[in-house]
């Protein structure tokens, strides 16, 4: 099924004029947007289906989504050039989820996700350079090259977790910590449609509901758990209902404004009532990882059709340009800026140094005993650690 977002109404009055390049432009300051209807599970009322957004929002979300898209394409190319090693799971197609959710929370709220983590790492505040340098294993990476594709962290962002499903109880635990400290903050705990069948999710849902933890569980349903379609892996593909007694809502995950509104609603809900589950319906353009061409379990035509009819970035561009908030020239400038920033970051990520070799032995323990030695691969190496 296709979730189509429609621009229904342009309102507004306020005008702002400026010079962009050589073109003089006049802007509306805000507009409204109709979201594809949500589906609700055990909720009397859902988020607003008509949302208002500003010109600043439009520029910011477009730039962030575009940045993730170009960053991921660049990562894919670096992988093909054998500069990125091992695992590399690209987020292309799913950008509206990270960008929309981040837009609805504060830096004091927490996020934890699975192994498709590059986009989330960026929206949580890590530079494109530090993401790409982590992918190339460099000292300037956001985990100094020790984590790699699946293990990136920053303030209130807890990875980047490589074991399918394990991050979901962890996220409930982070929400527990917010509640324990009596903070008005929440944790977003993300997983995919593949992980949605993991036993530990249901353990986490149960405890989160029992203790009313301020946790938003988010199923990013991109249609495939690795190479197995949702319908072939899940007895029930209505993921927003899979929390049973945990209320749920379905949102078009290709609509950044709908995702933002659903998340705003959910944050408010979980602070008052305990956990909620969001299914964000999306699509993954690339294969599961770089070793998967992504063509044996779906057709090229299917991917093309989604790109043409549901693409979160292309659709959002149409919405904001048609609304009159943003001009094509501004879009072009954002695209040029993004291209340059990612290009520069990639150059650095290729040329930055890796950590000095003695760093192999550091960060095993926090504050290790001074006399502690770590064994290397043979008995000639017993290294100091810090």
């Amino acid at each position: 099924m296709l979730a189509v977002t429609r621009l229904s109404l342009i309102q507004n009055s306020l005008h702002k004029c400026g010079i962009l390049g050589t073109v003089q432009v006049c802007h509306l300051s805000e507009a409204t947007h109709n979201v594809t209807p949500y589906k609700l599970h055990r909720l009397d009322q859902g988020p607003n289906t008509t949302v208002t957004y500003t010109r600043e929002d439009a520029l910011k979300y477009y730039k962030q989504m575009r940045m993730i898209r170009v960053m991921e394409t660049t990562a894919g190319n670096l992988y093909k050039s054998k500069i990125i090693r091992g695992f590399c799971h690209l987020y292309s197609g799913q950008e509206a989820i990270a960008v929309g959710m981040e837009a609805a929370i504060t830096p004091e709220d927490s996020v934890i996700t699975a192994y498709r983590a590059h986009g989330w790492t960026y929206v949580r505040g890590v530079s494109v350079h530090a993401v790409l340098a982590e992918l190339t294993g460099r000292k300037t990476g956001c985990a100094n090259g020790k984590g790699g594709s699946m293990h990136m962290y920053t303030k209130n962002f807890y990875g980047g977790n490589g074991i399918v499903g394990a991050q979901v109880p962890l996220g409930a635990g982070i929400a527990f910590a917010h509640k324990y400290r009596q903070e008005d903050n929440i944790c977003i705990s993300l997983y995919g449609d593949g992980a949605a069948n993991q036993g530990q999710l249901f353990e986490a849902f149960n405890i989160a509901k029992l203790w009313n933890l301020p946790c938003i569980f988010v199923c990013e349903n991109n249609g495939f758990g690795m190479g197995t379609s949702a319908a072939r892996a899940s007895a029930c593909t209505d993921y927003y209902t899979r929390g049973d007694y945990v209320p749920g809502l379905w949102v078009d995950g290709m609509d950044v404004l709908g995702v933002k509104e659903a998340t705003r609603f959910a944050k408010d809900y979980v602070l008052k009532n305990g956990p909620i589950l969001i299914e964000a319906f999306t699509y993954r353009y690339h294969g599961h990882s770089m070793s998967d061409p992504g063509t044996s379990y779906r057709t090229r035509e299917e991917v093309q059709e989604v790109r043409q009819t549901r693409d979160p970035i292309g659709k959002f561009k149409d919405v904001i340009v048609n609304s009159g908030l943003v001009t094509n020239a501004e879009i072009k400038k954002i695209e040029d800026d993004v291209k340059k920033e990612v290009g520069d970051a990639a150059e650095l990520a290729k040329t930055d140094p890796e950590l000095p070799l003695e760093e192999l032995y550091s960060h095993i323990y926090m504050n290790p005993p001074q006399d502690m030695k770590v064994r290397g691969c043979d008995d000639t190496v017993f290294a100091s650690t810090k």
């Binding site: 293990h151 074991i163 394990a166 929400a175 527990f176 926090m366």
Partner: protein, 365 residues
């Protein structure tokens, strides 16, 4: 299944304590400055109580820890004193609550995650190893995980194969974890307090059969400031003829064997490892250089056991050249634990196994 065995677990506690009561004197440490005695259970309880009082971010989470006062009564009275915010009953879902505890630690709390026994930690072992042990390294020091996983480990009595396993060697293999296996009441108090204050994930392996044993506590150990260093072994008994290295309840078995051998003119040096990771090999090596003979003793299985590791470390150390005989291992038998008492006894290291190994090492009859 679990609930069916649960009642058995509880009811066996008192029985074990009683059965072991007559061996208490043999198991005690022999410090003369000791003013009083405490059971291992009460020593653990005191450590928890003191650290909960000292630090608001410390909390205890697990099955039956709150209203029931602990499946083995280790958390007795803590709910009444510290309240339900900090003493938290969980469902019987180890992977879920262990993951929640690890997440809470990542976010800055200091949870103590009780496994009713470590046998059930296997349900949650991914959270212990992949989530707790590796995150500080993977994040290059950005995300510490200050958590304690604790509960009874190793064979209890008459509970069969699924409830009678030592996880010492399993967890001690993992960089990023600290693994403590205490023997005495003093060990339990001082090391549990250190574990709770440690900024790293710590696996704290208690022994159900020791919970009811009363042991001497020095005045110092009764203090709320009493801490023992993680990673340092204790020489429980000085000796010059042979070194016995053990952890947990097996330290007591070694002390019994040492008493018996002392009557025959053989002075054993008994080392209580206290910590399995980081392993205090320096204390072992110094002792072996002095005694020239080494026997390791543990309740766990032989293959890739703590004894195997000690043998390897000695082989790689200066102590190798001082050995007058091969190092010998006394371990649990290489079988799943049987239920019948006579078979169970045969599956666990007894004093006679140690005596046999010592005689073989020293080449005496």
């Amino acid at each position: 299944m679990k609930m069916a065995t649960f009642c058995c677990r509880i009811s066996t506690v008192a029985r074990h304590a009683k059965a072991l009561g007559n061996t208490t004197r043999l198991l005690t440490t022999s410090s003369h400055r000791c003013a009083q005695q405490l059971t291992v259970r009460d020593a653990l309880n005191a450590a928890l109580d003191e650290e909960l009082t000292r630090d608001e971010t410390v909390l205890l989470m697990g099955e039956e820890v709150a209203q029931y006062d602990g499946a083995y009564k280790v958390s007795k009275g803590l709910l009444a004193k510290h309240g339900e915010k900090r003493i938290i009953d969980t469902p019987i879902t180890e992977m879920g609550f262990a993951g929640i505890a690890v997440g809470a630690a990542m976010a800055g709390l200091r949870p103590i995650c009780e496994f009713m026994t470590f046998n059930f930690s296997m349900q949650a072992i991914d959270q212990v190893i992949n989530s707790a042990a590796k995150t500080f390294y993977m994040s290059a020091g950005r995300v510490p995980v200050p958590i304690v996983f604790r509960g009874p480990n190793g064979a209890a009595a008459g509970v069969g194969a699924q409830h009678s396993q030592c996880f010492g060697s399993w967890y001690s293999q993992v960089p990023g974890l600290k693994v403590i296996s205490p023997y005495s009441a003093e060990d339990c108090k001082g090391l549990l307090k250190s574990a709770i204050r440690d900024p790293n994930p710590v696996v704290f392996l208690e022994n159900e059969l020791m919970y009811g044993i009363s042991m001497d506590m020095s005045d110092e150990a009764m203090s709320k400031d009493f801490l023992l260093p993680i990673g340092k072994a204790k020489i429980e008994r000085q000796g010059k003829h042979i070194t016995l290295v053990a952890h947990s309840k097996s330290v007591g078995t070694c002390l019994e064997a040492a008493n018996e051998l002392a009557g025959k003119g053989i002075e054993c040096e008994v080392i209580n490892l206290r910590t399995l990771r980081p392993l205090d090999e320096e204390t072992i090596i110094k002792s072996v250089i002095k005694t020239n003979h080494l026997v390791t003793v543990e309740g766990g299985w032989p293959q890739c056991g703590i004894g195997s590791e000690i043998v390897a470390r000695v082989m790689e150390s200066a102590a190798f050249n001082y050995l007058d005989a091969p190092v010998l291992r006394v371990t649990g038998a290489d079988v799943p634990m049987p239920y019948a008492k006579s078979l169970e006894d045969l599956a666990l290291p007894q004093v006679k196994n140690i005596l046999t190994a010592v005689r073989k090492s020293l080449n005496i009859k």
